[in-house]
Symmetry: D2
Subunit: 301 residues, 4 copies
């Protein structure tokens, strides 16, 4: 049993917290949204009056926030007494940020932690809300390997796979690269299926062939974008739920930033992002699952 | 034991023929290249003076040629007596074209065969020269299911997987779609690895993470484009051998044609093709393996 | 006054013929469409029973057909007596093909003409139906300079600008390159206007600034794609009329072919073409003017 | 004669300052680089010890800095006494920022100025160092029209064209859109020329034809990217000087930001940017003129 501070109780953070409580941990939680806090309290968390209060006495401190500016705000903005949250966390705490943010922000915050003698990991997740609820998330972790070992027992209560990507910020870089590649092969898969169907093929037969051939990829394996091919995926329920187009556009924006910072060319990722923007505009698809890119190619699916 | 006519003894057709001989079949072979014919003879094939002669008495007739024009030429061009090869094949023969050509050409030839009462399949392969040698090719077959069952025992001597894609031409369509998707995820994989490495990650660690996450695809599984990550792949021997950039450019040209015939948009496939063209020009890479697209992103690999 | 044979009396060829008649030339016309022939007869042309008949006694022979296959069919297909049209044209005739076709086809036909001692030019036009009617077309001519001088007086009756691009086929190449560049800057102009308007600018003010700055191009000068900026252009009448999306897709297909034949990369042209295909699908825009690409970016224009 | 404060004496700001001095204005200058300050002093400027000191008594205050962070730093960062430069500028001063920065930054600074009752314009320039030296720059101005009239006499000493784009920030938006369109048509022009040359055309002849046809654009008119076509342009001196690839990549980054802020798709601009990044990597071209994109298509120019 560990004492854990937890900030950020949204669609992802909320169920992650529940899994920590189920595992018997003692969690002090905070969020700006009252209803989220109330749910946490009902589930057995103690509820703090501020983010800083969750950090007092915490052996582990976990944050799960929407974007870089929220994470920098949480850790680096001084309060009325001129102290940042990092000034209030005990030196022995392991700080784990699970948000998906820019590597630059992740490094900036981690360096501020290290400067105060505090161990910190960036540990963005994949697996979506379903993974958060079932405790089967994948954590992609940046930071010191020894610190990761200290944090591992806690992460294992929330996730099924834990990868060590490298030093601080590396978790964010790996997630960004992975999600860019995901956008590329999802878009490519939709494009190939549209081309095949237009040329007379059955989408299920073509999917099966490509899945078992050199075209094989995760989209074909578990997340087929063509309606009717696979049960239980967004494509078979009107593209509702899942990983939203708007979030994929956001993640691809982090890839653009990572490319900018290193002057790298990412023509395929950039095109995929712009196709998602065209999809959003043409099909009003911002709040649909990202496999709805099929609709850009095959208007009537 | 069956009597088989075989035309086209190149890098692919040559080893395919050997596997038929090994299985005990009686093969009559033809090619315009003398040395290829000589090798076939030495391996036990009988050698014919013309393509038409291989077809006489054949229970199965197999062709493996470079492009649409060769296939149309073989089957549809009248000889001095005004007869095409399809006029000389016995009605009971199963004709199997293993070339990768346009669906339009495949349909045109198959229709000419059917008009003469001859059964015909289009059965393009994937698996490369290694697959041809080991007899582990994948056949993607278009045509009547019953005809495929008649041809299956022969195909199984040359390949490990046999997919039925649909009616005549469907084998070609499925292969084209598969290879376009392959080009897209290979290019995307190289792009993601370049971005990750530029941002401080180890290419092997990043590959392992993406392979087991939602970025997973065939390139990461068995054909990693980054030198040093995987043994025995072209990336680890200077991109020699394998599936050449020039052939990928050719296959993507078939995808362009299939898109043209049906007025479909294939922005990702078209960009991948143009990146391969830039690679060819900038790195003189036409005769390198297609995973050398990594060099476009990471000049010094 | 010259004797002219003219084949192909469509939206372009019809008014071109009228301008030759107005200039006092004696024209023998042919088209497969009866009504087109009737209009030509009413305007003063003599009407032939076949393409070959228009060629007899012609000092100049002009064709204006939709695509490569029609041009090759017209000039190279033998008739019942085994003679092609080129066999029936007098040796002294100057043959001018005004169709927009592939350079390969243009060269093939010109070589067949030259082999028979007949002078031939490829002379594709730009300027659209309005230019055809007003006699202000631009001719982009490939072939011998001396032959061009012989044909110039005739071309000047139909057009205002005559460019000599180079040897046979060069007219087609130059037109293809020009139209690809047109598609690129039109698409780019629509993209820039959409971006500016979304960021608060007036499309007319922005157009004026870019027109007079380094962004300046023909689209901004005379064919602004944003509704309401310029009078008398398709954008200000619901994108009706003008140069159709389907024709731009066709011309960009010729660019793809020219790139294929020389292994050149044309990523911008290929992307523009695919954006036109997405526009066609999303907005049912095949029969709209090509400046309707604005609708892909700004859905509600 | 006016009293002018001027901060930022680099390749652009330096010659702009000289033109103000030549026109008889009294300028107080500041830059962090000693040698730049020394040159300004020698030319007749008074030299201040800080940016704030140039602002005292200024009727006009002009800044010309590299990027958003410098501009925000100059105007918004408090000094030791807790005062920003905007706190030290007289209320009657017209503040003109000529830097090319993000519209968001431009608006942020202008709003801070307005909150203090100070008039401010964003007035990014085009025309390069040659335009700065000759006093022929184009100013693209955002802000109140009356304020622009007050600033116009000063701007006219440094430039030949002054456009009013709209309210605060609109100058930046218009410049960003213009430069994105410039990148697109320059890239497209290089692509079309490469395609034409590969298909046998003379680059000069093709340039002349496209310039006078619907492909016409600023690149063809005054900045031809193909070596040997036009005298006095970077293409004819090994792509030295001019507007650097690195700066175009930077400006296209501002376009990406403007697109992000408004969720707009800019596929052509994004592809052009990535082609510039590939050019930079393949040809080590960061410090070459941006017309060197020709080298990506035609390796041996």
């Amino acid at each position: 049993m560990a004492r854990i501070g937890f900030v950020g109780l949204g669609n992802m953070g909320g169920p992650m917290l529940l899994n920590l409580l189920k595992a018997g941990h003692q969690v002090s939680a905070f969020d700006l949204v009252e209803s989220a806090l109330a749910r946490a309290k009902q589930a057995g968390a103690s509820v703090a009056e501020s983010a800083a209060n969750t950090a007092k006495d915490a052996e582990f401190f976990i944050s799960m926030l929407p974007a870089s500016r929220h994470v920098e705000g949480l850790y680096l903005t001084p309060d009325a007494e001129g102290k940042t949250l990092l000034d209030r966390v005990p030196k022995s705490t392991v700080v784990i940020d699970c948000s998906t943010i820019s590597p630059q922000s992740a490094r900036k915050v981690a360096e501020a932690a290290h400067a105060r003698g505090i161990a910190m990991l960036d540990a963005p997740v994949s697996g979506g809300t379903a993974g958060a609820e079932k405790g089967t998330l994948t954590f992609i972790v940046g930071g010191d390997a020894n610190v990761l070992e200290r944090g591992r027992p806690i992460l294992e209560k929330m996730g099924a796979n834990i990868f060590h990507a490298g030093a601080q910020g590396a978790g964010q870089v790996a997630k960004i690269c992975n999600n860019m590649l995901l956008a590329i092969h999802m878009t490519g898969t939709a494009e190939a299926l549209a081309l095949g169907v237009a040329n007379g093929l059955d989408p299920g037969v073509l999917s099966e062939i490509m899945k078992r051939s050199s075209g094989g990829n995760w989209s074909l394996n578990v997340y087929n974008p063509y309606p009717g091919v696979m049960d239980g995926v967004p494509a078979s329920r009107g593209y509702s739920g899942g990983f939203l187009v708007d979030l994929m556009i956001k993640d691809l924006g982090l890839a653009m930033d990572a490319a900018d910072g290193t002057d790298m060319a990412i023509p395929m990722g950039a095109l995929a992002r712009n196709l998602y923007r065209l999809l959003k505009k043409q099909e009003n698809a911002g709040a649909l699952d990202f496999s709805s890119i099929q609709k850009l190619y095959t208007k009537d699916v």
